[in-house]
Subunit: 248 residues, 2 copies
């Protein structure tokens, strides 16, 4: 089986930590990476503070195959991500002529002022990530991919990045509805199945719906046969429990 390809996500921005902006990127990126065979292993959200960003970038980029970041690459003074990435890597940063050319596609002569040119500040040695929506690019330096925070732009950048990423075996996920049974009734049987099936992880997820509590059991793994065997065992357990009249 292919080795795992792993990733972390670093969300940068005071506005997420104050709750003013509700993040829409984490769930999207998690699902996207899982779908292409990259395991998202950790997410951090940090404020627009240089030492916090630099510290998180260096903690995460060494630990995982890839680090993705969102936020902080606009033209205003609180957009400090590019400078922080340069600092984390110990490289220089300046106006990248390729990025300036991209901005010139969007702005008329005379409009490309100093603030807008900040969006062309790219760490030395980085590749650009095209932004089809507002032109100001993201970039890749080493294994770090720096993307915008605005969801539509981030999503377009991720589509541009994806073909260049190494991917591993895709996670196979089987969801089995256990509504009508309580977690406490199937927990013991489920633990035995989990212990007896290597290479799969099994989770139980209760949630509230308009109709009341709903329980779902999720079997995950990268070996289709192992997932199928574990999922069959879970379905058999649920059938047995539903039939035996145990208290729910």
């Amino acid at each position: 089986m292919a080795a795992s390809v792993t990733a972390a996500l670093l969300v940068i921005g005071d506005e997420i930590l104050t709750g003013r902006t509700k993040d829409k990127n984490i769930g999207y990126i998690a699902e996207y990476l899982t779908g292409i065979g990259i395991d998202l292993r950790e997410v951090r959200i940090v404020p627009d503070v240089e030492e916090e960003i630099v510290g998180a970038v260096n903690a995460l980029r060494h630990r995982y195959t890839y680090l993705f970041t969102t936020g902080g690459i606009g033209p205003t003074h609180d957009d400090i991500t590019a400078d922080c990435i340069a600092k984390a890597f110990g490289v220089g940063i300046g106006h990248d002529p390729r990025a300036v050319a991209m901005l010139q596609e969007r702005y008329q002569p005379g409009e490309l002022n100093e603030a807008r040119l900040r969006m062309a500040r790219i760490p030395d040695g980085a590749d650009l990530i095209e932004n089809p929506i507002s032109k100001a690019p993201g970039f890749r330096l080493g294994n770090v991919h720096v993307m915008a925070g605005v969801p539509a732009i981030m999503q377009a950048m991720l589509d541009n990045i994806a073909p260049s990423l190494k991917t591993g075996a895709r996670m196979i996920i089987e969801t089995i509805d256990a509504t009508g049974l309580a977690e406490g009734n199937y927990a013991e049987g489920l633990a035995a199945i989990a212990a007896g099936h290597e290479g799969v992880t099994i989770g139980s997820y209760p949630s509230f719906t308009a109709e009341g509590f709903r329980n779902q059991i999720v079997v995950r793994g990268k070996d289709p046969d192992a997932v199928a065997r574990a999922a069959d065992a879970v379905r058999e357990l649920l059938r047995r429990l539903k039939g035996d009249g145990a208290p729910l």
Copy 2:
């Protein structure tokens, strides 16, 4: 001015990292804590893996006034948060008689099986956090508050915790609509205002709406006068720019 009271949030669960479950707790907790005068400084999301949870708990609990966690306190084998907290603190863990009594309120005699009793496993020395919805309690150990992952239960637990928390001065947040101007036009003036107003932070947040790009400028701080002065300066800047016919 009162000293800052700070917090971190640790979200525990594979299901968030695979994107299967979209987190609804981060934004809620961020807004809640900001509203009562606690500054959320960092968020991490980690999988249901003991060493990851223990490592994150110990990294975060020493750095901030409070650490809040969500997820992993149900009855199934993948619910390992309580054991990880005990390990992080180096204390024992066992069935807490107070927690057992709470579960006995919910379950009929004979229903309180071994799996359900797992929900009464509480680290030594912890205080319980009541769960009015499904009874299985959260707990507080030192400065760490352990809550459920199901949003409705987490929210009820947070309401129960809040009166016991130290709080600092509340963040005052003024939002100024800058739609009609481009970030690149006000970025330079905004940077000058930010540099000239101590004790406030100023952010600029573009977003897409059905009507196109929307820009909002947010002035934050704990001194009402300082926030008001900076917000006035921002409004004056925007008035000047809207009047002077600069390209948008």
